[in-house]
Symmetry: C2
Subunit: 189 residues, 2 copies
DNA sequence: TCCTTCTCTTGACAAAAATCAAGAAGTTAT
DNA sequence: ATAACTTCTTGATTTTTGTCAAGAGAAGGA
């Protein structure tokens, strides 16, 4: 079983035949550090699984830059607004380190749904999962203090804090780098 | 064309045959003011379109209560964590006023996907839409001040502020009722 | 290797928002 | 209609978080 097949099956039960067929639609793609997967304003017409490396989803505002999300292995990389609704992206997606992806283009993507019925179900569950994750984030931002949000992320992905510049994680947590730095200092004691 | 068919078709292009067939799977449901659609801890096994009235999605914490979302006509009502993943709900869903819904139960729901292929696509786009909405909310909470978040919601749904107790909207916007009250006072001048 | 650049930390201060408390206004039930 | 509740507003104060500025440390390029 290939790495991609493992990703797909690790999320949801899919018949083995379909698994191979689905995986065959995806092509390997390299992304060098600093390279863009997507630039703000473009319409995203690809969907990828991230195999290795890290990506950063961020929005450039006049006054500041907001990191929305750090993409880690075994997750989707795409902009749903582009892929589904043909809208230009607000956020850019850039490689924080060299990345290996498995990518499918929109035209193949539509065939996938027609030829392999289980793909629809798979994808639906995948998106639903993304939605519930976002729901959690909204809840955290509504209900938790900066310190509690830090503890939540650190509890889920302690490794991220060694791999990703802290300023990006601070932004993703809705606080300034200074505040994150102070919270981390406090955690030591 | 029934009201439900109109809701469905207003979102996405679906063949007319399928539209009627899909709509037939849904049953009308009444919800009295204060009545619960779902209580925290239950596993949600229904999906509804909201036809009239308002619903409130909220989480009860030991110290406080957090309103996650106000459900308005023409939107989904459900807990995806329950419907897709069989997990108990963190949030309760309660009618703020008398509501009319169109509801489908999980068992019929699975048939729907098997018998009417376009439903999968429709639903996928619907969930994707919910996801991008949540993405916007996360972005707003990360990037905007309390005042900007108020203006955003007021710009989208000015009517809500006359229908929903302000304390719930304040919570949904990630601020206290006092802060919302002061922001609204400031907007008058 | 040295120099530049980027990242993180720290302190002093400012701003935003939360908390506490009281009272006004509006609803609901009897 | 009145009493009991709930909701909203306002002021005073505290807490949290952001801003500005400086410097230490680490990473990367010539």
């Amino acid at each position: 079983m290939t790495a991609l097949e493992q990703y797909i099956s690790s999320f949801f039960g899919v018949p083995d035949n379909d698994l191979t067929a689905i995986a065959n639609y995806f092509q390997p793609q390299q992304l060098r550090k600093q390279e863009y997967y997507l630039k703000a304003g473009q319409v995203c017409d690809t969907l990828s699984f991230q195999h290795s490396g890290l990506t950063r989803f961020f929005v450039q505002l006049p006054e500041k830059e907001v990191t929305q999300w750090i993409g880690t292995p075994a997750y989707f990389v795409t902009d749903l607004n582009g892929l589904f609704f043909g809208k230009p992206a607000r956020c850019s997606i850039q490689a924080l380190e060299d990345c290996e992806l498995f990518t499918i283009h929109r035209k193949d993507y539509q065939q996938l749904g027609e030829k392999i019925p289980s793909w629809h179900e798979l994808e639906k569950r995948f998106i639903a999962r993304c939605f519930t994750y976002m729901e959690d984030r909204v809840f955290n931002l509504l209900a938790m203090s900066a310190e509690q949000r830090y503890q939540w992320l650190f509890g889920m992905h302690p490794g991220l804090f060694n791999q990703v510049p802290l300023q990006y994680l601070a932004s993703m947590l809705g606080m300034t780098p200074e505040t994150l730095s102070r919270i981390r200092k406090k955690q030591l004691s």
